[in-house]
């Protein structure tokens, strides 16, 4: 059980990621109050939120450098979560 995955790469620029997150949050705030169609706002905000979450996962949680098996483990619940939400939404379709 070697910890070989750690430290075999250069440390990412954590402050740069922080800056991206900050900028994206400000953009979100701006877009949320624009006088455009609501569904456009929702789509844009969801993409932004997902992108920010991905940055945190990949860089702060180190996923970019972890073995594939660990990444698969982390992704495993997502299909189940998606199935639950999609099926429940079908009650309104």
């Amino acid at each position: 059980m070697s910890a070989a995955a750690d430290g075999v790469h250069d440390a990412p620029n954590y402050m740069l990621i922080w800056l991206y997150l900050f900028i994206m949050t400000v953009v979100e705030l701006g877009v949320a109050f624009l006088p455009i169609h609501k569904s456009l706002i929702v789509m844009f905000l969801l993409v932004m939120a997902f992108w920010k979450a991905l940055l945190v996962a990949l860089y702060y949680m180190h996923m970019k450098w972890e073995p594939v098996r660990l990444r698969l483990l982390a992704l495993a619940p997502l299909p189940a979560a998606a199935v639950l939400i999609v099926v429940m939404l079908m009650e309104y379709v």
């Binding site: 997150l21 949320a32 929702v42 702060y60 639950l84 939404l89 309104y92």
Partner: protein
Amino acid sequence: MAHAAASTMGQAPERGIEVYNQKVGMWVFLCSEVMFFTGLIGSYIVLRFGASDTWGAPNEVLAVPVTAVNTFILICSSVTMVKAFAAAQAGDQKGIKIFLCATAALGALFLSIQLYEYTHLIEHASWQGSHGFTPAAGLYGATFFTMTGFHGFHVFIGVVCLTWASIQAFKGRWGADNTHGIEVLGLYWHFVDLVWIILFTIVYLI
């Protein structure tokens, strides 16, 4: 954990995930947390989809600016957390102490502002005629308090663990040869930040 090799007559250990046990364990636990928040957030999505005309508009009841600042605070705490880990890897004892304490403090600050927001909503906000915005204020109130409340509970647990880790730092426990605890705690803390990123967007801005 690699000690098993010493007693196995030269045979290599089985491959596994090739990451130490505590990290695997924390990721497995985070999978269960994903499903827990899916239960809460999924219900919110479904309930709102079916009753969208009874929901408040952004900034109508909930204070977006203050919460935006709070979001920023939590993101900063992720930075200090990751810097604490980097300090541990480098054996920088001073850095470990500073950044662990900073993360705990920022987490506590997040919680305080959240609690202040809650009391303000419950006592002063108004929603659909009734005075005070509480969990009983329609589905809007119910989903708001449940989702942010449980997120806050997870932040609280994180702050408790960070306080313990900070105390341990002052006892000299962490170092280049003992980074696993900080790394694993960091994974939990980043996850809590990640959930908030999603919550902030869908609860406050949509």
